[in-house]
């Protein structure tokens, strides 16, 4: 057995075999330098090397900084916490619930009695139908400043706490539990500056991957979009340049229709408070609009309980890609994927972001045009305090929702106004208008391919 001059390569005593196994010259820096010396001459090579070394030294601080950057490591989940979290997630909460020893339990105002009541489509943790929509409102302040925003809850533990639209603003009709249709009809009659809208329940599958996504990946995508479209302020109305919402804690918003939560735990805490009326260390429970003097006896949930629920949601599997069985169906999906990229959908619905494959989102706020205006409310969570120079989300700005599992998350868009995927595409506007124009320019068959591609993204359940 002969050992070659190349480390780690052992060759039998055959020259031919040795040559075949020899790595390419380009893989060895010494060979590269030697070859260049022959081509350029030794003196020139000296200068070229000196030049290169100088340049590398000057770029070294950037390299060191990149090298020392902490890597995103996937966190492990505590099985016991996940088990407890599942119990809390599916628990039917009641007034003075035994799981809330210091608080008042469910309410006084709420939208559902358990998490799974809304998050059930496609399995536990999935999205919700129209009947679980949440009604939100936004009223500009009389003086310049932050507007008043909030949720008009569907239920109350007592009739005297029951909220309706009139409680939000005197000019609005006396409607309890308004449907989406009623809200849409209000568009014509409501006062100009008062905005009322609804939010559809989002699916929670794969939330752990989103939670672990480093902020810099989202920011990198934002900056790349700015460079690609040469739109440095990211406020263009016609080009798909989004913006990351930097919250008060300095982190980038990743969860919620308005990117109002930077972590899964914060999202869980906001949802528990707003939907179930369970006050927790992250967010206080909402005070009924009709009883501003209401004071909760204490917090309903502890930090540990919130973390357990977040652990359970983090343990939910990620959505799947299910291609049809037939060859024709598979080809249709492949063509649809190609079309998805070519007409510009992938500009915002980025297929792979950081380490997440197949998420189809950039988690940036995009302006979606006049047809998709919703209230600028932030789900009653603490108002995002953007970094200097940035504003709160505009009424037509929405975070790009991940498309994974989209086939099992109807209805679509922020308030579920689109019953089908085709309808959802047709309602895109603003920064997505150009893509919509291209989509409309496709043949019926090509449009069907795109829909088939979207339908291949299924919930894990």
């Amino acid at each position: 057995m002969m050992t070659s001059s190349w480390p780690g390569i052992e060759q039998p005593g055959s020259t031919r075999l040795f040559l075949e196994a020899r790595p390419r010259l380009g893989h060895n820096p010494a060979w590269v330098i030697l070859s260049l010396s022959v081509v350029f001459g030794r003196q020139a090579m000296k200068w070229i090397l000196g030049y290169a070394v100088g340049a590398i030294l000057l770029v070294a601080p950037a390299g060191v900084r990149v090298w020392l950057r902490p890597l995103a490591t996937p966190g492990s989940l505590d099985a016991a916490a996940v088990h407890e979290g599942k119990m809390l997630f599916t628990h039917e909460w009641t007034v003075n619930d035994p799981l809330c020893p210091t608080g008042d339990g469910l309410g006084p105002v709420y939208n559902a009695t358990s998490c799974v009541q809304c998050h059930s489509e496609g399995g536990v943790g999935g999205s919700g139908g129209l009947k679980h929509n949440v009604t939100t409102f936004s009223i500009p302040a009389a003086r310049p400043g932050k507007p008043t925003t909030g949720v008009i809850h569907a239920h109350a533990t007592s009739d005297r706490y029951q909220e309706n639209l009139t409680h939000a603003h005197g000019a609005l009709p006396h409607l309890e539990r308004p449907t989406l249709k009623e809200i849409q009809e209000l568009e014509r009659t409501r006062p100009n500056l008062v905005q009322v809208g609804q939010r559809n329940t989002p699916a929670l599958f794969g939330a752990k991957l989103i939670d672990e996504l480093p902020d810099r990946v989202i920011l990198a995508n934002e900056r790349a979009q700015k460079l690609r479209w040469r739109d440095p302020d990211g406020r263009g109305l016609t080009v798909p340049v989004g913006r990351a919402l930097v919250l008060a804690d300095g982190r980038v918003g990743k969860f919620g229709w308005k990117a109002q939560s930077s972590s899964l735990l914060a999202f869980v805490q906001a949802a528990c408070a707003n939907e179930l009326g369970l006050g927790n260390p992250g967010q206080a429970q909402p005070v009924p609009l009709v009883e501003a003097s209401y004071r909760a006896p204490g917090l309903d949930l502890t930090t540990q309980q919130c973390q357990q629920m977040a652990a359970f949601i983090a343990a939910l599997p990620r959505p799947l890609k299910k291609t049809p069985d037939g060859v024709q169906g598979q080809q249709s999906v492949a063509r649809g994927r190609q079309l998805f990229n070519s007409i510009g959908c992938a500009e915002c619905h980025v297929p792979d972001l950081g380490s997440i494959e197949g998420v189809y989102s950039d988690f940036l706020l995009h302006r979606m045009g006049g047809d998709l205006v919703g209230d600028g409310g932030s789900y009653n969570a603490p108002q995002p305090s953007p970094s200097p120079g940035l504003d709160s989300p505009l009424s037509d700005e929405w975070r790009t929702p991940p498309l994974w599992g989209v086939a099992d998350s109807a209805p679509y868009l922020h308030d579920g106004r689109a019953a089908t995927l085709q309808e959802a595409i047709m309602l895109h506007g603003g920064q997505a208008a150009e893509s919509l124009r291209k989509f409309r320019g496709q043949s019926v068959g090509q449009q069907a391919d795109l829909i088939n591609f979207l339908k291949s993204m299924r919930a894990p359940g």
């Binding site: 200068w47 810099r216 920011l219 460079l227 040469r230």
Partner: protein, 341 residues
């Protein structure tokens, strides 16, 4: 016989238009009449001296000579416009601050043209994807490139006039000069030979840095400065011999070795100011989307300040070389001065 200078020009050099009134017409004697040495007449005259027998009449020939003289006179008169009243040559760096004031009108013109071009280009290029219909917009790049050439041509004249210790002539700004194209090539070559590398590194780092901390901002500043300073060094290195091949580190190192501290300090200052100027221009570009007029005014002021600064620095840099040569010549040291190389 009085000596009369004769200028020989080929017939195609004749003016297309008749000479304008106001010039003094000088009679031109025949070539053979001016030769004082009779022996020279016997020898066969060199081909360059003896005029070939023209195929037109003698009258026409004299007319052409007159026209040639008039053309030269006109050219000289034109150049006179750029010759201002001589001033006392600057003796200290601070005195060079007055030099940009002598060319303030040219600086304003250049600033105005740059401002309009930049804002129009920014509005034109915004919102187009990099690969989308790139070819039709490619000629647009020629406009800033030509302006870059004109700017460097202007600044190069400032430097050259200073190096020669000139205290009469002023730099000219214009797109008609033939040197502008070469200056544009010089600037582009110097940019591609080094700064583009640092710029690419800075952009890559900025994109992937995430939320910028103080350290990240420092790293970005350093890369940005490297780009600006290296561009200045390479431009000056090319300028020494006018060779594009000198756009390399070796030539820049030789420049410093030969010219001493001025070649170290002034490019550093100039490069830093270039980097700062580009950064501020980007900020103004962002502002231009919402407040166009304010952005225009700010960009115009930025250009004015930058051109004043660069003119001042180049004048000082050039004069420092001139002063040094003067000191070397008056000093008893027999060693040849490197700046004279």
């Amino acid at each position: 016989m009085p000596h009369i200078e004769t200028i020989r020009l080929k017939p195609y050099y004749a003016l297309a238009e008749p000479p304008a009134l106001g010039y003094q017409v000088v009679e031109v004697s025949d070539v053979r009449e001016e030769r004082a040495d009779p022996a020279a007449d016997k020898a066969p005259p060199p081909a360059a001296v003896v005029r070939q027998q023209p195929h037109w009449s003698e009258m026409e020939s004299r007319d052409l000579d007159v026209r040639a003289i008039l053309a030269k006179a006109k050219l000289e008169l034109r150049n006179e416009r750029y010759r201002s009243r001589p001033w006392r040559l600057e003796r200290y760096g601070a005195q060079c601050l007055f030099y940009p004031l002598r060319v303030w009108w040219r600086i304003f013109r250049l600033s105005f043209v740059w401002t309009v071009t930049m804002l129009v280009l920014a509005a034109t290029l915004r919102g187009h994807e990099a690969g989308e219909a790139w070819l039709p917009r490619l000629p647009l790049l020629l406009v800033p490139l030509a302006l870059l050439g004109a700017t460097w041509s202007f600044l190069r004249q400032v430097l050259r006039l200073a190096v020669s210790g000139d205290r009469e002539r002023l730099p000219v700004f214009g797109l008609r000069d033939t040197g502008v194209a070469y200056c544009a090539v010089m600037a582009a070559t110097a940019f591609l030979a080094g700064p583009v590398f640092f710029l690419a590194a800075a952009v890559w780092f900025w994109v992937h840095a995430g939320a910028l901390e103080r350290v990240d901002q420092l790293v970005l500043c350093q890369l940005w400065l490297c780009a600006g300073v290296s561009w200045t060094y390479l431009l000056l290195a090319i300028d020494v011999r006018g060779r594009l091949l000198d756009a390399q580190a070796k030539a820049a190192a030789l420049l410093i070795r030969q010219q001493g501290w001025p070649a170290l300090v002034f490019p550093l200052l100039g490069g830093a100011s270039v980097a700062l100027f580009v950064y501020l221009s980007v900020r103004v570009w962002i502002l231009s989307f919402e407040r166009g007029f304010e952005a225009f005014i700010l960009q115009f002021m930025l250009w004015c300040v930058a051109l004043f600064l660069w003119t001042f620095l180049l004048r000082w840099y050039g004069l420092s070389r001139y002063w040094r040569v003067g000191r070397q010549q008056t000093s008893p040291s027999p060693r040849e001065h490197p700046a004279a190389v």
